[in-house]
């Protein structure tokens, strides 16, 4: 007989209100801990012996693993090549794994087959302390407070609080004032580009002639600085702001510049630092003139003033105004006219 012949409607869900808690008497009784079932190793001494031997064997395999790892260490001397290092890593790792897994598996198997698995029952006690203990503790605090005379001497309490609140300053002030360097956050506003700085290929430092760029070509560009200067920390920090992506478009495709007159004969130079959170925007799609940031997929249309066409960035990439000098090399006409990279609170101030 199927369930739907049941004349009574299902009473499973009590939708509104209803008494949720049932009287204790209306409940089933706990049948108690299920009867203990002996394992094969408990009843059959031969099985126990077999498992004992097996556990010993696994421990011995672990020993072999350890010996193997030492052998691997001395026998396989990596020659420094990637393959040599990989081989040494593989052998050491596998031998170590055998050594460790042997111990682990043998121990667990031992516990599961040969150690008693009888259920033990332990009573729980309430997590809180008893009322007597609480009363004693409350009284102790009261007496302690009386001894200290806090209630009668409020000035003491206030002054100790003040002293404790102030003392961390003696550590915090020197720390905080030094930890941020010179704290001159206006450095965000400028890069090392200035009028007349030549554009150079990254990382070779070779200068770029406008005539050498074919339509559709892309160049990763840094400011032209002496080679020694490029080996300093100062350079890495400046480079982090100054990197530029140069693209030569067919002048007919170039709808507009982000910055009036900043392009030169279809060659546009945009900051490579994403206006979202600052990843280098490196993926250029020639057909659509789209520039894609590989980190969060902000997409900029460099034929149309680098405006955002997709993704989490809001602002176009800042444009570097460029022209050519007497020798035909590309040069900057000025620094960027806005801070490059991610937005920050006082960016426009």
């Amino acid at each position: 007989m199927s369930e739907n012949q049941n004349p009574q409607p299902s009473r499973d869900v009590t939708p509104h209100g209803g008494d949720g808690t049932l009287a204790q008497a209306d409940r089933f009784t706990d049948p108690g801990v299920p009867e203990h079932k002996p394992r094969l190793t408990d009843t059959d001494p031969r099985s126990a012996k077999r498992n004992e031997r097996l556990i010993v064997l696994i421990f011995l395999i672990s020993c072999l693993g350890t010996v193997g790892s030492v052998v691997a260490y001395f026998a396989v001397r990596p020659d420094g090549t990637t393959e040599g290092v990989r081989l040494s890593t593989l052998l050491l790792g596998v031998a170590m794994a055998v050594s460790l897994l042997g111990i682990g598996i043998a121990a667990v198997h031992w516990a599961k087959t040969l150690m008693s698995n009888h259920e033990h029952v332990e009573e729980r006690h309430p997590s809180s302390s008893s009322d007597e203990v609480r009363a004693v503790v409350a009284n102790q605090f009261k007496e302690g407070g009386k001894d200290a005379g806090i209630a009668r001497r409020p000035m003491l309490l206030g002054s100790v609080g003040l002293a404790l609140a102030l003392f961390p300053l003696s550590i915090a002030v020197p720390l905080v004032s030094s930890v941020g360097g010179d704290w001159n956050v206006s450095k965000f506003r400028h890069t090392m580009w200035k009028k007349g700085t030549r554009l150079a290929y990254d990382p070779s430092g070779r200068l770029i002639r406008a005539a050498d760029l074919t339509v559709g070509s892309v160049a990763h560009v840094i400011p032209d600085v002496p080679a020694e200067e490029r080996e300093t920390h100062h350079w890495i920090t400046e480079k982090a702001k100054a990197v530029v992506l140069l693209v030569r478009l067919d002048p007919r495709d170039l709808k507009r510049d982000h910055r009036e007159g900043a392009s030169y004969d279809g060659i546009v130079a945009y900051s490579k630092i994403c206006t979202h959170v600052g990843c280098p925007v490196a993926l250029y799609e020639q057909q659509t003139h789209h520039l894609l940031c590989p980190c969060h997929q902000s997409t900029f249309d460099i034929a149309d003033g680098a405006k955002v066409v997709f993704g989490p960035a809001k602002r176009p990439l800042p444009q570097l105004p460029i022209t050519v000098d007497d020798e035909g090399y590309l040069v900057a006409e000025d620094d960027f006219n806005e801070p490059i990279g991610p937005s920050y609170w006082e960016r426009l101030k």
Binding site: M1, R27, G32, L90, A97, V185, H220, S298, W345
Partner: protein, 566 residues
């Protein structure tokens, strides 16, 4: 006062006995040992998940110690003079990167330790997450364990911090770009963003201070905090005694399991070696973070398809999904909600949910009892639904953090994928909640059905009157107990808005808000079967049989003495 052992106890003769005597005379360690040695621990595979996190942490410390012997946390620039790897020979790089290459190529076993360390970090975080899932879905966070839940969530955050600070140490292109993203997020914070960026980097990004700073955090501050909290976590676990799953003889007032010594301790120790062994196997066979392929940090290059470690993917995905239109300029100041919402607000909400949930559930349940017996997830449908909804949001964000890989592997448009995830981020958790709750209620009804009518046996019996029935086997009392032993909480009842004299009651509105939340939790519920219902179902079976005879008068009523349960 006597300084010798009490005369009633015999002088120890064995070496162990003498050592114990020596220690006990000075520390009273016997009292502690008496409580711990045969302390009973309940046994279940899911209680091992936390051990995965704990033991991965031990492996992290062991392998991390090895790495600190060779790593130099300096950003000073150097030319790499070693021959291998050939691609890096003669390159300008930081000492940190050079020492990472050196420990991989010149120190035998160094690469193995690096890889074990990295894999352990991934497994550590995974262990924390699955352990938290177990604790959440079984209600192990309830009184008196709310504090331990808070300790655990704090450790999850510290784990994220440990992973992040460690990942950035080799100073390679990938981690450098990760730091740059961090810098961008920090700068978006209103008012103090720029200064916070200087605070972290000691000047402009990247500067020359960040690696030593992260190193100190990574090997001192964060692990010290983690160790301290692990101590608290385990101490509270022992103090409160472990929770146990419901079952025969398992009550709120006892612990049923095996004693610490020997079985439990042996299994736990064995588990450590198994986990360490698996991590060694992973470190030996699975290459991870081959920094020499990326090269030293340079602000210009970036690799497409780069992913952060898995536990950071949700932040990455969150950043990717947010549309950019939400950056506003107000009174000349820039408010980058396109970064703040995904990178600060959303993780903030996720972690706040984790921190406050135990207290909210206690409040809407109106329950101040201690709970040591775990819930079966089906028996608390809304909690289970909320947990699954939370995981769904997390997983969707993590997938969104890989949207470029999804696009390239499945030849899909990245824009479409992003739009789908934007939609799913809102719809997915709601749908997941709804379907999970329905599944839980369905499973509870199934439990009722089983208790009332028993298991199908597949044995079909034909009566003399031609009627076929399937014989049902009643549940044994252990199984029945498992399926009826739970509380179906009802929504909170609150005092009326006005008292007997019609005066408006203070706090009524707040009570009503809690009541509404409580209804959301407990409006739909399935009550456990009562003995009376079971008895009724049995007699009802007889009744059905008679009725079928009435409704089918053409059949001869057969009354085979077959055991019938529906």
């Amino acid at each position: 006062m006597s300084t010798t052992t009490p005369s009633s106890v015999a002088e120890p003769t064995t070496a162990i006995g003498k050592t114990a005597d020596f220690l006990d005379q000075r520390t009273k360690v016997g009292v502690l040992a008496k409580q711990l040695v045969r302390k009973v621990f309940p046994d279940h595979w899911s209680f091992m998940l936390g051990e995965i996190a704990l033991f991965s942490f031990v492996v992290l410390i062991l392998s991390g110690f090895f790495l600190t012997m060779f790593f130099e946390p300096s950003m000073a620039l150097t030319r790499y003079e070693n021959e291998h790897p050939a691609s890096m020979h003669g390159e300008l790089m930081s000492v940190a990167f050079a020492s990472t290459l050196d420990m991989s190529f010149e120190v035998r076993g160094g690469l193995l330790m690096r890889q074990i360390h990295h894999w352990s970090a991934l497994i550590f975080m995974a262990g924390i997450v699955v352990h938290m899932m177990r604790v959440f879905f079984t209600g192990a966070f309830r009184k008196p364990r709310e504090l331990n839940w808070l300790v655990g969530v704090t450790m999850l955050i510290l784990g994220l911090l440990a992973g992040f600070t460690g990942y950035s140490l080799p100073d390679d292109v990938l981690s450098g770009n990760g730091l740059r993203i961090t810098d961008g997020v920090v700068k978006s914070i209103p008012i103090i963003g720029s200064y916070l960026s200087y605070f972290i980097f000691g000047g402009e990004f990247p500067g020359e201070h960040i690696v030593p700073r992260l190193f100190t955090l990574h090997i001192l501050v964060v692990p010290a905090l983690l160790l301290a909290l692990i101590g608290v976590h385990l101490f509270l676990m022992v103090l409160n005694k472990h929770t146990q799953y419901p079952g025969g003889g398992r009550t709120n007032n006892n612990v049923v399991g095996s004693p610490a010594v020997p079985a439990f301790a042996t299994k736990m120790g064995g588990n450590f070696f198994i986990i360490f062994g698996v991590l060694a196997l992973m470190g030996g066979t699975m290459a991870i973070n081959n920094v020499w392929n990326y090269g030293p940090y340079d602000p210009s290059p970036v690799s497409a398809g780069a992913q952060p470690d898995w536990y950071m993917l949700f932040l990455e995905g969150s950043l990717r999904l947010m549309p950019g239109q939400t950056e506003y300029v107000i009174g000349g100041y820039t408010l980058s909600l396109n970064i703040l919402i995904p990178a600060v607000v959303i993780p903030g909400l996720l972690f706040t949910f984790l921190f406050v949930y135990p207290f909210i559930e206690a409040k809407v349940t109106g329950d101040h009892r201690e709970h040591h017996l775990l819930d079966r997830p089906r028996n608390v449908p809304v909690r289970t639904g909320l947990g699954v909804a939370f995981l769904t949001a997390f997983i969707i964000l993590a997938l969104a953090g890989s949207n470029d890989l999804i696009a390239t592997h499945f030849s899909l448009s990245i824009n479409t994928i992003t739009w789908v995830f934007r939609f799913l981020f809102f719809a997915g958790p709601v749908f997941a909640f709804w379907i999970t709750k329905r599944i839980c209620l369905g499973l509870q009804r199934k439990d009722r059905e089983l208790v009332l009518h028993g298991h199908e046996t597949g044995r079909i019996v034909r009566f003399a009157n031609g009627e076929y029935i399937e014989v049902h086997r009643p549940l044994d009392e252990q199984e029945r107990w498992l399926r009826v032993n739970y509380d179906a909480h009802a929504p909170l009842e609150i005092e009326p808005a006005t008292d007997a004299r019609g005066v408006k009651r203070k706090g009524y509105k707040q009570d009503r808000r809690w009541q509404r939340l409580s209804r959301f939790f407990f409006e739909d519920r399935v009550e456990p079967v009562t003995p009376a219902e079971l008895a009724a179902a049995h007699s009802h079976g007889e009744h059905d049989e008679l009725e079928s005879a009435h409704t089918a008068p053409e059949l001869v009523s057969g009354s085979g003495n077959v055991e019938r349960e529906h």
